[in-house]
């Protein structure tokens, strides 16, 4: 059974829409048993090891406002599965197993795109969170 690490993104939906940015209106936490950095900010760096399952979820601070994850991608930010035309973003589960990429500790920044409502100003993104894959024990 893969050990699961949960990363939770919390958003003040309305303020994010007003400011048209996630920075300052969004914070991230995880429950990794390793020492993750910058907990509570958008620069969260989640420490993990190969084989763990990472599970991302998002919640709006105001329960009557919507927010969904539209995309999570790592460099070069190409998606295998294009979510542009997915009608119900809540039918997507954002799970992935940490791959083994070598014996050195390495940090990988990733992009998160959130959708708040629908329309031309509904999509907001950040490039600042990251995963740090620790060498396997």
């Amino acid at each position: 059974m893969n050990e699961q690490v949960n990363i939770m993104i919390m958003v003040d939906s309305i303020q994010a829409l007003v400011d048209q940015r996630l920075d300052g209106n969004c914070f991230m936490v995880d429950d990794s048993r390793f020492f993750s950095k910058q907990k509570g900010t958008l620069h969260l760096d989640t420490q993990c090891i190969p084989g763990q399952l990472i599970h991302w979820t998002v919640k709006a601070v105001d329960v009557q406002t919507p927010v969904s994850i539209k995309q999570i991608s790592f460099e070069p930010y190409q998606q295998i599965f294009n979510t542009t035309n997915v009608e119900n973003l809540d039918a997507l589960v954002w799970n992935g197993i940490v791959p083994y990429l070598g014996n050195k500790q390495q940090t990988y920044k990733y992009k998160v795109v959130l959708q708040i409502g629908k329309g031309k100003k509904s999509t907001l993104e950040t490039f600042t969170p990251s995963l740090t894959i620790l060498p396997p024990y």
Partner: protein, 288 residues
């Protein structure tokens, strides 16, 4: 989705009371317009609920619906984030009204827990022991039937309330009540949803329940339901709403409850859960 559905039932209470017709004077709006709800702002709202399920058939997400009935004629009383200092938060409609709640001086049987010696006074007094909830009084004159309250509209008992008689511009009314009634410049006791029934409930599509909340206009009660999204389709439900009509008897204000119903629909769709990275099952993270 983590989002809860909110359905506002906007009611032109005075017109509905005049015509005894709720359907022509109620307009429903939910917060799911961009996600598929239809006929926003009408009495024919169809609320879209997008359900999700796992490969083994189990429902994946919990969808929650909330209902609130509001009189179009009432002052805006929703909770607002203070736009500046918290000092101003104290200056909301709720706090203004709380200061002017009257003594609930007596019930029809006569009552002893009042400090007011002359309980025929019409002056609005500051309450000294808090106030009875409308629903407690409704319970006195109704049967608590299965799944909700049933008000007997032939009942001769009316609600006596500490709800202050306030004009449309928020001033406390004083003076000749008959004149106030004629001028129609007063806000009715707010409408209350007393039950939710119908096909959607009978089929186990929605599980409604009444919850306590600090929401002042509903006197601390609102209706909420969780949705079973296993069966896709369009389902009807009925809201039982009590409006309050101003009645003056012996120079005393009381409110006659008038129970009316209003139907609406929910439309359930369901999608299978898929992995957001692959579009299918779980795999390694796309890190290269």
């Amino acid at each position: 989705m983590s989002q809860q559905f909110g359905i506002m039932v906007m009611i032109d209470v005075k017109s509905a009371l005049k015509t005894r017709n709720l359907r022509d004077h109620a307009y429903l709006i939910d917060n799911m317009k961009d996600f598929g709800s239809q006929n926003e702002g009408t009495n024919a709202l169809i609320s879209k609920v997008s359900g999700t399920y796992w490969a083994n058939g189990n429902q994946a997400g919990e969808e929650v619906m909330n209902w609130l009935a509001i009189d179009i004629n009432d002052m805006p009383q929703t909770v607002q984030k203070p736009s500046y200092y918290t000092y101003f938060r104290a200056k909301t409609i709720e706090n203004f009204l709380k200061k002017h709640l009257t003594n609930v001086s007596r019930s029809e049987q006569g009552d002893t827990n009042t400090n007011d010696t002359d309980d025929r006074q019409l002056d609005i007094k500051v309450s000294q022991q808090g106030f009875n909830s409308i629903l407690e009084q409704l319970q006195d004159i109704t049967n608590v039937a299965e799944g909700g309250l049933k008000t007997n509209t032939d009942s001769t008992k009316n609600i006596e309330s500490d709800w202050p008689l306030v004009s449309l511009t928020g001033q406390l009314e004083s003076g000749d009540i008959k004149v106030i009634q004629e001028e129609n410049n007063y806000i009715n006791l707010p409408p209350v949803i007393t039950n939710i029934t119908g096909e959607a409930v009978d089929l186990g599509i929605i599980y409604p329940a009444e919850y306590g909340s600090p929401n002042f206009i509903t006197r601390g009660w609102y209706w909420c339901a969780t949705v079973n999204t296993a069966k896709a389709g369009k389902y009807r439900y009925t809201m039982h709403i009590t409006l309050f009509d101003l009645v003056i008897k012996d120079d005393q204000i009381s409110w006659k409850p008038v129970q009316l119903t209003l139907d609406s629909h929910i439309l359930i769709s369901k999608d299978a859960m898929r992995n957001g990275f692959t579009g299918a099952g779980d795999s390694y993270l796309p890190i290269y």
